[in-house]
């Protein structure tokens, strides 16, 4: 277990370093090519950096290759998840982190590669990439709503109910708080839950609750301090437990709806990714056929 934790933290350090490196490169290239990127398309061929920064230029083409590789690396997670490759290597969450990193930074490299000049069929690939990337954030959000164990696998409903009960007892025992108050606090944290409503209504309700909680949290702290006379530290610990309890409770109540939503997200996310890859391949093959082989 200890080894697993140290591996996880090492992965995070590597991931952080990757983000820093990628963002630094991007920021530098944006800064360096800013004048070119803000030049109107019709005037760009006359820009002194055009031969370097155009999509087919040395740097532009390189960025495209890097972006493409990163976009292809995204697929590793899907294959790992399905145990097609790298089966048993690393935790699925780490692969997801890599998947997310590539899904965020890859499009940014591709954007720089295009220099925002989007024409023809490859533009469909580009916009698909943008949709896939943005929908990734939504997927990540929905993903978090599905409780998982440390290896990234889903926790079943029974296990979830058990965990929820354990937390409830811990709060009751530690802070001598009645269940009705805990329930009241949960409502303040995650809003009212309507398991009978449609999947999309459920999604918007907890999305709304998550947004408004940011503003309610101060009020909840105030209630805990006045009604229970707890210290600031105790309130912090209690609030953490209550949030964990509330989220677990919400996941329990909305289990079916969230799962359905997540399936729908896949339905949305995958075809765009498919289209993106398909056209990307066409684009790459075409350019290679026509002799645009970068430095090779």
């Amino acid at each position: 277990m200890a080894s697993s934790n140290s591996t996880l933290s090492m992965n995070r350090i590597v991931l952080f370093a990757l983000y820093i490196i990628a963002i630094t490169i991007l920021v530098y290239y944006i800064y360096d090519g800013y004048d070119y990127y803000i030049t109107p398309f019709m005037e760009r061929p006359h820009h002194p950096d055009h031969q370097n920064l155009k999509p087919g230029g040395i740097r532009g083409h390189g960025l495209g290759i890097i972006g493409t590789i990163m976009m292809l690396t995204i697929l590793v997670y899907s294959m790992r998840k399905r145990n097609i490759i790298f089966s048993g290597i690393g935790q699925l969450g780490s692969w997801l982190d890599l998947h997310i990193f590539m899904g965020i930074m890859g499009p940014l490299f591709v954007i720089l590669h295009t220099s925002l000049k989007l024409n023809g069929i490859v533009a469909i690939s580009f916009w698909s990439m943008i949709l896939v990337s943005l929908s990734g954030f939504l997927g990540r959000y929905l993903y978090l709503q599905i409780p998982r164990n440390i290896s990234g696998h889903e926790i079943d409903l029974q296990e979830l109910e058990s965990t929820n009960e354990n937390i409830l007892k811990e709060i009751e025992g530690k802070y001598d708080i009645e269940r009705s108050f805990i329930s009241e606090m949960e409502t303040l944290i995650v809003g009212k839950l309507y398991p009978d409503k449609s999947e999309f209504a459920t999604f918007f309700s907890f999305l709304k609750a998550d947004i408004f909680r940011l503003f309610r949290i101060r009020n909840i702290r105030k209630i805990l301090r006045r009604s229970k006379g707890l210290s600031k530290k105790q309130i912090g610990i209690l609030l953490g437990m209550m949030k964990k309890k509330a989220f677990l409770h919400r996941r329990l109540i909305l289990w079916n709806n969230i799962h359905r939503l997540f399936h729908y997200w896949h339905v949305f996310h995958r075809p765009f990714a498919l289209i993106m890859y398909l056209i990307m391949v066409i684009h790459v093959v075409l350019t290679v056929i026509l002799g645009y082989t970068w430095i090779f």
Partner: protein
Amino acid sequence: MISKQMIMYLIIGFYLIGAVSVLAQLSPGDLSNPHLHLEGLKNCTKCHEIGEKVQPGKCLDCHTLLKTRIQENLGLHARNEFKNCVECHSDHQGRDFDLIWWKEGINKFDHSKTGYSLEGKHQLLKCRECHKSDNIIEKQKYISKNKDLNRTYLGLDKGCLSCHRDEHRGQLSRNCVKCHDLNAWKPAPLFDHNQTSFSLTGKHLSVDCIYCHKRVEEKTDAKDQSYLKFKGLKFSTCSDCHLDPHQGRLGSYCKKCHSVNSWKGIANQDFDHNQTRFPLVGMHQKVNCNECHRSNRSLKNLIFNRCSYCHEDYHRGQFSHRQQKGDCKECHSEEGFLPSTFSVEQHNVGTYPLQGAHLAVPCNLCHPKSNDGMIKFRFSSTHCQTCHRDPHNKGADLYLSAYNISYKNDICQYCHTFDSWSKITFDHLKTNFKLTGKHESISCKSCHKNDVPDPDVSVILKLNKTKCQECHHDIHAGQFKSLKSDESESVNFVKCDKCHTTINWRASKFDHDTHSDFKLEGAHRHLKCEQCHMTVNENGVIFVRYKPINSSCSSCHVKRKMDQ
């Protein structure tokens, strides 16, 4: 219930429909309008070489005009640095994208890279002032290749006349720079007339071209309807260009007398002026050529039938009324202006014939030089007083009118003649003073001169003097005033004629015996007058004492004894 697969298929289907619709747009952007016909998947390889990007060869497959020039190593595109077309002519940038890119800006384009350096005035021109449809030779060749003649930079020839109108209309070489430089058409600094069949020497060097090369009208060109004639000019003889002012009289070989340095200078000193219409005679033989043939005088229409063409009218038109209009030849000859050949006879047929003393008077006494240097030949009148001063100050007029005498001629001639002023024809008997004795021989002026100094009246015609003493001085100092020979006479006057006559002053009428109280007798008769009548000085007046004289003997003799 919509299944997951259905939604996925729907999205993929939607995308595929979209993809098919833009399948033709695999290209990274629209081609520019000139390449519009190359749009579409099947045309990619018309420009793109498989595995080789865009190669110039593909471009030149269409741009055959350029291909030919590159093969001939002509123009900008034949240079190594411009052989990769896409470096300058990027496409897929949109329909309106201008394929021609001037790397350093169109105004900084180094035209020498095209094989034709812009020099002189060419440097100031805008591109399209040369690269325009009008200047493109073999237009059809470019039109057939769909070239827009107002956009292409091809089609010009290095020859000047491919852009410039032939001002000389084919008379001269088509290579303008043999004579002109690129700074201006005028002048043509490279032109050397000595390379032509007619070398310029002498004055020809400084003559403007147009004096020899006349402008010829030609209406065929609306912009320029004339040109200078350079070819076909005759120049074997001077008269091919120059008008012969001698009208052929002196022959056609001008250099016999003239040189190319000037018409005016006679190059040949043996020039015989007598061959001309104006043989040199007299003084004309001595003057320098340029005194007659002056620099400011045209020789072409030289008029010499009148002296005044060369000579200034010294008399300022005083003779212009004459029949010969004052021509010098009437009075002067070519031997010199002086002496004048104008004779007395010629003078006498004029308005004032010369008579008497006038015949002997030098011309310049009557025709003097005035203050402005002009000799006066014309007078307002022929009256004597026009020339002569009237010493009587119109006294003659007064005299004649006083005596009611009419005289039709010049009034001076009433008394005077042309022979001499002093020869008076006036009859003094018409006055109350008859001239006798010495009075007849003395000059009028002796009696008639004005005693009072008066510049206007020097001679007084009418004298109211009849007494001797009124004219003559009494040398006797008034000793005879008291002589009462005539009681009617005033005692203040002396009657000289008692003793004297008008013949002389000798006292021929004096008789000592009767006219004095002392009768001369004896030895007294032989004495000289001055032995008795001594010269005395009384109060500074010296005179001979005639009276009163003491008549006693002792008054003379004693004294004389005593004097002895």
